[in-house]
Symmetry: C2
Subunit: 207 residues, 2 copies
DNA sequence: GTAATTTCGTACCGTTTCGTACATTTTTAT
DNA sequence: ATAAAAATGTACGAAACGGTACGAAATTAC
């Protein structure tokens, strides 16, 4: 009885998924407060009332955009981090995959919706909560990956290395917004990955 | 001939310096776009036209606030980084001093004006430029301090360590906004400082 | 005293903001 | 056909927005 009998009234024509993609694009380019509902209406092609019906008010639209962005990260970048192999390579590939999300092309970057735009709107409780969830998720997955790469390390060492791994990613979002090029940050990510693995004693030379 | 003869018209009564302090407070709590001129007028006690006369329009007020915040950092935190002694201690003390600026008390944090709020408004060219200046300044001073602490290190090693040092600070601004406590981040700073100095071969144990 | 000069806030302007009431369109049910 | 139901955009409203013209207030110059 999945769709055996069609619904009763006028069939929906709105593609909420592609609309949400446009919403994410806009919010991560200009942040939460600087985007108006008219901007969102223009970008999605939906009328303002349609936006309300599909996503609720502006705040809940932004939180939904953060979730959609998180889904994209989980699908397109996290697998690179969790892939088997040397920690240094996994970290380096993860940063590269994240930067591919952050940048539209090699120069101009719409940036990271979560780490670049949410902090400035964290006085909104829902946004702060979702931001915190993002940070804790990244910390958690970093810890997990480092744990498997260095099982003999102390939990203290693992936690420190994980924090450095997360902090590197967070900083990339600000650096991208400041005008840094993608290749510049990809290099920085590779070198940071090497340093993190070195600090855990996973390579011969100190750096 | 400093103030030998008083100026001609009605004497100015506005304290632009304390007004700018209130402007910084407001912008770093809510970001650029979410703050209205009425908010600024209420916070400073100045009328909206007085704000214009003193600081120009909203955008130039925000840039002026970034500069004022940068001055505060240069006075209250940078000396701790440039102080002689072990690199690990200098870094740790610098992070602690920065976090003392970031936090009003141990729990709630108005955050960092530059790294937490500017990225979301970097589509404004003046803001992006000032943000970039902030990142490059931090990189530069980190490089300088690490250079003196590890003169035998290669420029490649120094640059990498400096980037990790800057990235740690940048990430603290997002973590503070996400609700992390000050003491939590002070600890994280101390451990990151140790890791950075370890990666340069400046301590015995790897971490 | 009177004019010139500078500082400052009241009051206003046009635009944009978020949010919604309501009519219109498109479908199914009978 | 006609009614019920669901989806959608036009059009509206009240409030907030950034910005400024202008007059009142306070001082010096003469």
């Amino acid at each position: 009885m999945a769709n055996s009998q069609r619904k009763r009234g006028r069939p929906a024509t709105i593609d909420t998924q592609s609309a949400m993609q446009s919403v994410v694009e806009l919010f991560r380019a200009k942040g939460y407060a600087a985007v108006s509902l008219d901007d969102l209406s223009d970008a999605t092609g939906l009328s303002r009332p349609s936006l309300y019906r599909s996503f609720g008010n502006k705040l809940s639209m932004y939180v939904a955009a953060m979730n959609a962005f998180g889904d994209q990260v989980r699908e397109e970048a996290v697998p690179a981090l969790l892939a088997p192999g040397r920690l240094e390579d996994a970290l380096s590939n993860f940063y590269q995959a994240m930067l591919t999300i952050y940048y539209r092309d090699d120069e101009v970057s719409p940036g990271c919706l979560v780490y670049a735009t949410a902090p400035s709107s964290a006085h909104e409780e829902e946004i702060q909560d979702r931001l915190r969830f993002g940070v804790e998720s990244t910390d958690s997955i970093m810890r997990q990956r480092i744990q498997t790469a260095a099982p003999e390390a102390t939990s203290h060492q693992i936690e420190t290395a994980a924090h450095i791994g997360t902090n590197t990613l967070i900083a990339f979002s600000a650096r991208a917004k400041s005008g840094a090029s993608k290749s510049e940050l990809v290099d920085m990510g590779a070198r940071s990955a090497k340093a993190i693995s070195a600090v855990l004693g996973l390579s011969e030379d100190p750096l």
